[in-house]
Symmetry: C2
DNA sequence: CTCTCTGCAAAGCATTTGCACATTG
DNA sequence: CAATGTGCAAATGCTTTGCAGAGAG
């Protein structure tokens, strides 16, 4: 997702494209999974006065527009990422790192279930929690 | 999961089987997805002095032992349920109701990915979010 | 100029924790 | 009776919100 796409997304919406919003999008530009706090830190390097409130408000707008995706898991801060192609997550139960994966065939599986149970307008997400390779090595 | 299974689970663990813990398990006995608050209310009908702290501590222990499963989703209280057979969730985006479903073939899919990405000791969960049948009808 | 956005600080909510006493095995 | 569990209330951490001023179109 390049800067133009991003700005276009905001401009087409009913929201204004402000410096703060652009900066939040830039902070997420490298595809990282960041907490609101971390985004605040990143944004403050170029704009020291932004507040955490603005970060949250911005993230919420960006999610609504579909530019940002939220990952939250029991008992810790949510992590935000730029919404690129549909993907799922591997969460390490030791170091809490998060990795994206495509899961072929999952869309069909989810659609079948939704149809059978009569759910419409669905979205779906798979989270796999386990010990990542680095942490497994480190534990020997 | 009957009362004996439950009590056995606790007894075999390093934890004591107290009235409070038994009551929490009983509160979840009907297979519902309950918030800690709701569990508190249920437990208090037979034991008015229990505290919310105890509910949370108990749920955490039960989760550790594997008797309870947590479902949490961005921006609201977690819901707890008795851990029966492995299943996944359909969450209604309108009324927030939660429904259990078995998803055949998902275990294999998840295992393949975990193997490829070198994650061990995995667990996985699929959440499908959409509009349930009742809410779809209600919106016409 | 009007409407939207922002910073700030306070509030909100779910969850966790320290401590002194009660209960369990 | 020694170890663990509990109630209470305060603390915590993340997120949201009211308000008054700043900025955009």
């Amino acid at each position: 997702m390049d800067a133009k796409t991003v700005d276009a997304g905001l401009l087409q919406s009913r929201y204004r494209l402000t410096k703060q919003r652009a900066a939040v999008l830039r902070a997420l530009g490298d595809g990282a999974h960041l907490s609101a706090e971390t985004i605040l830190v990143r944004v403050r390097t170029e704009m020291p006065a932004v507040s955490l409130g603005t970060i949250y408000r911005t993230l919420d707008i960006l999610r609504e527009i579909g530019l940002v995706q939220i990952f939250s898991y029991t008992g810790s801060a949510a992590r935000y990422e730029a919404a690129l192609e549909k993907h799922h997550h591997l969460l390490c139960s030791v170091c809490n790192s998060l990795v994206n994966v495509r899961v072929d065939g999952l869309a069909e599986l989810a659609q079948d279930i939704a149809r059978r149970e009569r759910y419409s307008n669905i979205d779906f997400s798979l989270t796999i929690v386990g010990r990542c390779n680095d942490c497994t090595k480190r534990m020997n």
